[in-house]
Symmetry: none
Subunit: 215 residues, 4 copies
DNA sequence: CATGAATGAGACTTCATTCAT
DNA sequence: TATGAATGAAGTCTCATTCAT
């Protein structure tokens, strides 16, 4: 996956085939299996026959769906990215304020990490090796940053640096949580500091960060 | 970033042997070779015969110095850690203020990344796979954080979260720089935001972050 | 090159079935597809799924017509042999003299090779791997040789050696032509030398070889 | 080996290494093993692990000497070619007359085929798949042809066609012999016909072909 | 019959590690 | 101690063949 990543939407090649229902199910099974493995071990250590075994299919079946090992891992990245987009869209539903949205996003990621270590590990690993994943997340964050700037809630010198900060701190916190260094209200603390870094006053930051998460 | 660089060489078993000078040189050559490779490719992709070739020794020679592949990589981590200690010691020389020291540390890491991508890549990769490395950095940062808190310059709710933030943001910025997203005064911007996150007012943060780096 | 083309179709098991027309068409499509592939690559390198793709049928369909990969290739040999019989029958129409018939046969094969490389390649490959093909050609040649001997036009010590010579030289020339080493009147030159080898005087050989080919 | 065959002399990479005696022995063992296999089965059917087994080395050892499967087969072609050059040089030692040399060459190849089927099979297979081999043989034959033409012993319209004829007939005869269709004095008969094809009168051809072979 | 997903044996290749020299 | 040949387990990928739909 170091390769220049062609733009692969990749999910409706034979929409009209007969057995295409089963096909999609198997493919999904393979990607899910791979995701479970990514959650457990380093990407480079995953053998394809493990993926096959985890998905309960034969060794060669993988190659009915992916031309190469890298294509499998790429599909994993894409799948996870899709999930994020969904998850994040839900969060954004009602909230208008950019700073608030940021806070909610950060906290949701941290909280989910605490609850679902597998998910968090998979995410962290994929962000590390799949550049595309990073930029997908960036898109969402960027929107919130700009909204906050426009509304005057946020102040920051450079958008790129701000984006970096949000992403790095969130993933850093997720890693901490996964590694067992979670605290009470870890999510709130992290969000608070991020907001301060983005120019929100400590008091206001504490207030925004403390708001209850949407159900 | 603190503490007078502890002597972390940890590898003088036979201080009085005859060929012991040469032995150390060869060993060092191997570790350096490995470091150069780590700078270029993912740790998991490095083959031992590449290390041997890079160090211009034979395949089997490696096993006169290391029992296993992992031991080689471990040594790489230790070597890099030693270098940090050196690098950081220099920074510590004259500055007393914790916030100031933090700022200088962050900026030095970011600046060096801009100048020496190989170094930065190696560091980022090693932090990722070698847990020990991370805690070594943490020690230094922690000292500065506490000093800042004692002096009243910094305010933060939780030390662990603050530590995470400093480390994540710094490595995040390094990654950005390595990937070509560097800006003018990137280091200053990042330090500024980190200070704000740690409770320093925007004005004061700007002032501290803007101070010239020690030669 | 002799004998009125024996009916070598050998594959009419159910002559009265309903879908039997279509069945034969599909089968023929498969064999033709295989032939096109044989013309392009070495027999051992041809994968069945390529045959299926080339014939625009599904993977498994092949097994409704052939029990095994080798059966497919065997059918290819048989099909090509049938074609030869046809091609050669045409030549036989009017000519009586064995030497003349030989000359015409050789020249036709060489000329067609120049015009249709695919055909030549397929033939050369099949002769190489399918022994049956070789003996089928031999039958035709043998007749002409004997006729020539009886008529006193040809003189040769051993029939087997003469046969070898005719076949080897003809296929050798075909290979040359396919590989781009064709000359003007290549066919005539080759026929001439073969006739000389078979005891025809140079002058007479030249005369026979130069006769125009039947339309 | 379909690739454009780089000019590989390939036999003195590390002439000064310590264990290079053993190295050469192992390499030779591998090529010999491969040759034995080529004599038994089609080139495309030879698996590398068979070569390893035949040479009594481990699977991976092959890759200490060859980068890829094709390189192994290429080495086989080169080895056989070297042997030919040697064999043929010996024949040429004393004989001056081109026609005579041709006759001797053809007969030696046919006779050796009768005695050593493995050798013949290997040669036939390699000529078929390794174009370089063919041109190497051609060089020798060409010299004799030209000498014969100059001396007036041979008469032929085109050198290329004559070359084809000599090579095709000789290999054709070798194949016959290997397949058990050998006759008494097969070699003499073939040489005789080839000479006739090259313009030698039947009487003279018989005389030249019948000369005893050099010890 | 056609389809094409699934199978699984088997091929190629890599590489950490051992060991005789 | 240095060398580098040998090892063999492990992994990636191909493809003939089967079978439920």
């Amino acid at each position: 996956m170091d390769s220049p990543a062609p733009p692969l939407e990749a999910t409706e090649p034979h929409p009209l085939t007969r057995g295409h229902k089963k096909r999609e199910r198997t493919r999904r099974g393979l990607v899910d299996a791979a995701l479970r493995l990514v959650a457990r071990k380093e990407v480079g250590e995953i053998a394809l026959f493990e993926v096959a075994a985890e998905a309960a299919v034969s060794n060669g079946t993988i190659y009915n769906y992916f031309r190469t090992r890298d294509e499998v891992l790429e599909a994993v990245g894409i799948a996870m990215a899709a999930e994020f987009s969904d998850a994040i869209s839900v969060l954004n539903a009602d909230v208008q304020c950019g700073a608030q949205r940021l806070s909610i996003g950060v906290r949701m990621f941290v909280c989910r990490s605490a609850v679902d270590h597998q998910w968090a590990n998979a995410l962290l690993r994929i962000i590390h090796f799949d550049q595309a994943m990073r930029s997908r997340l960036a898109t969402h964050v960027m929107g919130d940053l700009r909204e906050g700037l426009r509304a005057g809630t946020l102040t920051y010198a450079d958008e790129g640096v701000a984006l970096d900060l949000v992403l790095s701190c969130t993933t850093g916190a997720m890693r901490s949580v996964v590694q067992g260094r979670a605290l009470v209200e870890h999510d709130v603390r992290v969000a608070e500091m991020i907001l301060q870094a983005l120019g929100v006053t400590p008091a206001k930051a504490r207030e925004i960060a403390a708001k209850p998460l949407p159900a």
